[in-house]
Amino acid sequence: MAKPTTTLADIERVLSAQDADLQAAHRALVARVGGAGTISVPQASLDRIADASHVVSARALFGAIRC
């Protein structure tokens, strides 16, 4: 098996960048609609986000069992 060339520090940087992306998108949205404003979000979009998280959980669980 090929040894991973990524380090734990690299992973932490990726996670931080992901969080920064989310915060940036949130800030941009707040700048548009204000803190008290509301936006309409299709349920299908929310479901896709939920599915993305759940799919990963199942895959990770399967991986853990397989190993």
């Binding site: 992306d21 803190g35 309409s40 299709p42 986000i49 939920a50 990963v56």
Partner: protein
């Protein structure tokens, strides 16, 4: 590890986050829709939407944190074993030739064992390797004698009169063994190489497990990226929609 965006102080967003974490239905669905169904549109404040995304990422973050902790534990365990092997290798190539030298090796392994949580499979493997080493070289730690030796010492101390000279020399010898330990069988170079290899193997096993775990963690991070992209894409799209609507009004 830095994890997810900070929890918002917005009470509605906090409620959404709590609902998501408890898997309860989200309580801020618009009054017009009531509950969710395919095709529904839900009203969110920006903070609530952020809280929803954070909540959905919670499972992923937990798993990534667990994987990260396992990686760190593996690093500590490997370092501990390497330190023990380093202490043992000072007696290369022939291995320890006295009880004191063997005690140095045993102590080094016992120190390494403290880095393993109870019940850890690799910790058990390391413990077994230690016991095998002690058994192979018939090592008895200081402070203890074999049962036969202890009985002999007790008997001679109780009644040394039969042969006082023999009794005294034997008592001295046994007490010396008790103080410094015993090495019944000195290792040869080949035997010692095999012994140190058994400890190296434990370290290799931990490394293999860590590599598998790391790949799984990378997979989790990759999937988290997808969820983040969906979330930011949703926010940006809504943002863009608002801008487009404003432009349309202006025309």
């Amino acid at each position: 590890m830095t994890m997810a965006v900070s929890t918002t102080t917005n009470p509605v967003a906090a409620q959404v986050l709590a609902d998501v974490r408890s898997e309860a239905p989200i309580s801020i669905a618009s009054a017009s829709t009531g509950s969710f169904a395919p095709g529904d549109v839900t009203s969110f404040s920006p903070d609530s939407l952020l809280a929803y995304c954070q909540g959905r990422l919670g499972d992923l973050d937990t798993q990534i944190n667990t994987a990260m902790n396992q990686q760190n534990d593996g690093i500590k365990e490997r370092q501990a074993i390497q330190q023990a092997i380093s202490a043992m290798s000072q007696f290369n190539p022939g291995g320890p030739q006295t009880a004191d030298q063997m005690q140095t090796c045993v102590s080094a392994v016992n120190t390494a064992l403290q880095s393993f949580p109870p019940g850890d499979p690799e910790g058990t493997q390391l413990q077994n390797a230690l016991q095998q080493m002690e058994s192979d070289y018939q090592y008895v730690a200081p402070g203890t004698l074999s049962q036969a030796q202890q009985q002999q010492l007790d008997a001679l101390q109780a009644d040394p009169s039969t042969d006082p000279l023999f009794a005294q020399s034997t008592i001295t010898m046994l007490q010396g063994l008790k103080e410094s330990g015993q090495l019944g069988s000195k290792p040869t170079s080949d035997q010692w190489t095999a012994t140190t290899s058994s400890f190296t193997n434990v370290s290799s096993d931990i490394q293999s497990q860590s590599e598998i775990g790391f790949l799984q963690m990378q997979d989790l991070v990759s999937q988290r990226q997808q969820a983040i992209e969906l979330s930011t894409g949703l926010m940006n799209k809504v943002d863009q929609t608002l801008e487009d609507q404003a432009k349309a009004v202006g025309q």
